[in-house]
Amino acid sequence: MRKFSIGLVVVPLLLQTACQSQEELKQEKYFVEGYQLYTEHCANCHQTDGKGLEALYPPISGSDYLKNKEQIICLIRYGQNEPIVVNGRSFHRPMPANPQLTDIDVAEITTFLYNKWGGESVITDVKEVSKILDTCRVQRERAKVIN
């Protein structure tokens, strides 16, 4: 009898954690892999704590530029040459492109940035990222033709 009642409590608990983990696992995978990619490709300039380096490399932690999410997704892949203003301070050094990063890499890095420093708690899915990357690739090609 006693055994039975414990089983009643344990089984639903197990079920619940199993259900959560599907979503949670995906988010954790995005975040952890995003963190690793960030460490490898970005932290040398923007620093592990995201605070940037003086007037050379802008901060990501606390950056008001994070509101331009589509631009950020694009600059992770294509780099950034135009001067930008972050928290009222202007930056004008080029950020190198990262053509070697796949769409899923960019999605994971974006998830890491926005979970860590952008106040988000959801993932930025690769489907969404692919669409944005396509759009900015087309825009960039057009810009090239015009110039």
């Binding site: 040398n44 300039c45 380096l53 003086e54 007037a55 050379l56 490399y57 050094r93 190198p96």
Partner: protein
């Protein structure tokens, strides 16, 4: 007899201990050394000549000359970098900035960063870079000049600086920080791309400063 023995033993031990601790406190002198024999008062004595950084002459971020003379009577840390290098240079400059902040205003300590991309990294470009990094005054010198001369100087610090099509930015250089003492002897080499490397360097600068204080 017994006590005499004990005493001498204690003395030897003491001598041993102090020898040990003094050699532990002194940083090694790196590079090749020559043993020179010379005659002093009719006796032959041997002396060790340690490797020294040879003279050099470049231009700094203020378009003023910078040479080995600039560092006479100073302890200094040197490295090789270039501004547009995307990979290890930002790490090195992050770490060197920590060293700069720690020893800022100390008249015995200087920093010397050589660019290996002099065509792009001209004095005004270096000046702007230094300013953006938060560096003012002349405690941290940025040197530029003829490429061949810089590569040759790199060798004299026992580090690599050369052209390499396979390397990011087309230039290959080591991420080392080199610690040079007031006699221009190399006293340490550190991994300039990590916090641990820079921590070790800052500890060793303190030790080297203490060596000069004792004299």
């Amino acid at each position: 007899m017994y006590s005499a023995l004990k005493n001498s033993f204690a003395v030897v031990l003491l001598g041993f201990l102090s020898a040990c601790s003094s050699s532990e406190n002194r940083l090694p002198i790196m590079g090749e050394r020559d043993v020179i024999t010379k005659e002093v008062d009719g006796k032959t004595v041997t002396d060790t000549a340690y490797y020294q950084i040879p003279p050099f002459q470049f231009v700094n971020q203020d378009s003023l000359p910078v040479s080995d003379k600039t560092f006479d009577g100073k302890i200094y840390v040197s490295d090789f970098f270039f501004i547009s290098c995307p990979t290890i240079c930002p790490k090195m400059k992050t770490q060197m900035k920590r060293v700069y902040d720690k020893f800022k205003g100390n008249p015995d300590v200087m920093i010397l960063s050589y660019t290996i991309d002099p065509v792009h990294d001209t004095p005004p470009v270096l000046k702007e870079f230094a300013t953006n990094l938060g560096v003012t005054g002349n405690q941290w010198q940025f040197a530029t000049g003829k490429k061949e001369d810089i590569f040759k100087t790199g060798k004299s610090y026992m580090v690599v600086a050369q052209e390499d099509a396979g390397a990011p930015g087309g230039l290959l250089h080591s991420g080392h920080f080199v610690l040079v003492d007031k006699e221009k002897h190399v006293r340490g080499m550190y991994d300039g791309t990590t916090e641990e490397g820079a921590d070790k360097l800052m500890g060793d600068i303190d030790r080297l400063l203490a060596e000069y204080k004792k004299q």
